[in-house]
Point group: C2
Chain length 453, copies 2
């Protein structure tokens, strides 16, 4: 259970009361998306029935339960499955990022490279493919997918090397290709991505998915190993041509894509493919679920609440202004909610780095918000990275209110100068207003809260 460092809320009087309310809401959000808790919430066993998100599986008719998967949260997710199924697990292999292990009994946790895939990842992916191939219609495969799953489970097609793939990805990024385009290529040069993990087994398959992609597009999370793929070899070739990268692409890649385009390599399974009838994809943790849990916690504390969106994007310091605009309206008119009010949004902003300071998108948003809300009473803005590490820092974000600037000034801190240098971390460290949780072992992007009392 994630806890916040008490420096944030251990304060006298009304300030402490309000900060403890905020922390309770944040903790509820993080608890809902803790990988272990999240799996346990969606997977439970009643005697010989395994219930997964309301669908029953009769364990008496299942010979072998096989657990596979990849992602940074793989280890605690595997622990949760073991808690439910224990000795019923016949075999298991999950690829995780180096140093992201946890003790398990039946599922092997295998460390590999992230964000750059490495040979350890390939080796693990081969083991996963082997387990999948061995599982038959009377078995059950449980696949654990979380953030980083794409890089952590690389299985290039025949003749293509990791180095080839990496070179092409780099070239695409430099050329300005977007993530959908890059994924289209990836899904056609890998033996598991784009629905092919599901196609590799004839066993029923349950995919438990911890979503780190805004809006939870299943085909994008870990490059969609268990869901239909609407992209094509044809489209992959077009993308390379569009960015002028076809000629310069490694020969092995050109050869494979050409083979696919001319029908000599199998297309990825498409929507409507019968194989997906035996696949149950379940999002066990997402920005949305975290936001909803926060909302319920805020309601329990007496707040009126609204969950505005889970699709926030944009430059952090500008997005901050919109959230402060919401606080100002609450204070001016009690709109859109009666007070006390808690307005919740999720997503992931970006920071265009111009300075040389230390910070992260959530801390930057909070700092810009503090400037914008200077002098306001009875309102706070809270910006939280659900993985506990906002940017290259050990903080999950920060909490600001109308008095933040004044308190900073008393310490000789200039908010505008810190913002200009992208240097929010030391600013909030000095104030004791960082959100400090340690790593949460989960990642469902960011949450932003406007509290108005």
């Amino acid at each position: 259970m994630v806890r916040f460092a008490p420096a944030l809320y251990d304060r006298p009087g009304l300030e402490g009361v309000r900060r403890r309310q905020i922390v309770r809401v944040l903790e509820a959000a993080l608890e809902a998306v803790d990988p272990r808790e999240a799996v346990r919430r969606f997977v439970r066993r009643e005697g010989e029935t395994l219930w997964v998100n309301g669908r029953p599986y009769d364990l008496t008719k299942i010979e072998r339960v096989v657990v596979v998967g990849a992602g940074k949260a793989g280890a605690p997710m595997a622990q949760a499955v073991e808690e439910v199924l224990g000795g019923r697990i016949a075999a298991g292999w999950v690829n995780v990022k180096y140093a992201h292990t946890a003790p398990t009994e039946h599922v092997h946790i295998h460390e590999a490279g992230h964000p750059i895939p490495d040979e350890a990842g390939v080796w693990g992916a081969e083991e996963i493919a082997r387990l999948l191939g061995q599982a038959g219609p009377r078995d059950l495969v449980i696949c654990l997918i979380s953030g980083g799953g794409s890089a952590l489970m690389p299985l290039p097609v025949e003749g293509v090397t990791l180095a080839d793939l990496q070179a092409l990805t780099d070239a695409l990024l430099r050329a300005g290709a977007n993530i959908v385009e890059i994924n289209t290529i990836r899904k056609h040069l890998d033996r598991l991505k784009g629905g092919k993990l599901a196609a590799m087994t004839s066993a029923p398959l349950i995919a438990l998915i911890l979503s780190d992609v805004v809006g939870n597009p299943l085909d994008a999370i870990a490059s969609g190993p268990t869901v239909p793929d609407e992209t094509t070899f044809e489209g992959a070739c077009e993308i390379l041509q569009r960015y002028g990268l076809w000629e310069g692409a490694p020969a092995s890649i050109r050869r494979y894509l050409e083979a696919g385009r001319s029908g000599q390599a199998a297309e990825n399974p498409k929507p409507g493919d019968a194989l997906f009838e035996r696949v149950q994809n379940v999002i066990v943790a997402s920005n949305d679920l975290a936001a909803q849990a926060a909302e319920r916690a805020a309601q329990a504390l007496g707040f009126h609440t609204v969950l505005l969106t889970t699709f926030v994007e944009g430059e952090a310091r500008e997005v901050a202004k919109v959230f402060v605009a919401l606080a100002k309206e609450e204070l001016a008119s009690g709109r859109p909610l009666p007070r006390p009010a808690c307005l919740i949004a999720g997503g992931e902003t970006t920071v265009t780095v111009r300075g040389r300071g230390k910070g992260g998108r959530n801390q930057e948003m909070a700092l810009a918000g503090a400037i914008q809300m200077a002098g306001l009473r009875d309102a706070a803005l809270v910006c939280l990275a659900t993985d506990g590490t906002d940017g290259p820092t050990d903080a999950a974000g920060a909490l600001v209110d109308g008095q933040t600037l004044e308190r900073a000034r008393a310490l000789g801190l200039d908010a505008r100068a810190h913002l200009a240098e992208n240097n929010a971390y030391p600013f909030f460290a000095a104030l004791g207003d960082l959100l400090l949780t340690g790593p949460t072992n989960t990642n469902v992007n960011d949450l932003t809260f406007v509290f108005v009392w």
Copy 2:
């Protein structure tokens, strides 16, 4: 009555139906803040009783009605007062911007310089001061305030020239002073601003205010000639010193501020001053009132609605992303409102100009929004400048949806290239998606709408 050019909505099928819904909502918003309509909504006569926002004035006990004021919407506001009071108006003088006149019978409309004040403005302000001085306790003064009122009613204190004031304002802007700081100085170097217009007469005073400042801070609109002023001579001096401008300030200004600081010039009337007991300040038009009128019109069309905030600020292209995030959530989950939904916000964004194109903040927001919402069905984003002229263009803004980019591509238009050049106007002109109303003669900032069907 403002009407939109039919090119925007005169389209076949569902697109036309939806666009006509949008236009009806926008027209309702603009009608609510039309200066003449706005005054008429808050001021009416029943026999010998003048009702102003629910407060009665017994005309049988009033000897002379005197109308004064300043602002770009002064002429139609005066017309509305004449429609109500006609021959009961004994004298009247309102300063307006050059070419912003309209025919009146009893109130003299006087043209002057804006945004740079000129001697015509001073002359008119002297006439206003004279009328105010002549009005006594048995008379009634009606003061018409609208955007530009500060520049259009300049009455520098003894010994200070317009040129002195302009030089100091320029220096403050260059030094990075904000509008609150600049207004603090202005209010202490002018004989009408900072509540002193009200202090200049012993007559009861009704100020009818058309607000062009986000959040409607009465002390900021036209530098608050009819409301208490919390700023001080001391504060004005401190601001000049803080920015290192005290030494370089014109001697006349230093002398006057020093006199004020040492008590030799009267401080501006403060909150609680008895003089304000005979003053009724009424905001007759504001962003808020426009947004509420839009909301009612949308409800009448069957939309679920929420008025999120009237305090929007930030870089237009980034703020756009937050609005599109709201549309995406509506489409994904039907949150925060059941569909069809209309989400409304007001305020004023900014554009950091990097290109050499033609556009305005609303068109730029719409263009950025179009890129962000490409491919979405059943959603539209509408960005409207209530004055009808967004930036240096003859358009009030633009309307975009998930098909805008596709339609643009078919015409050979590249949305990203246009955005990079701040060149939204020709983009939307080619598509026929500009909001074209002509000048609306009002200004209550901007409105942004997300429609989801």
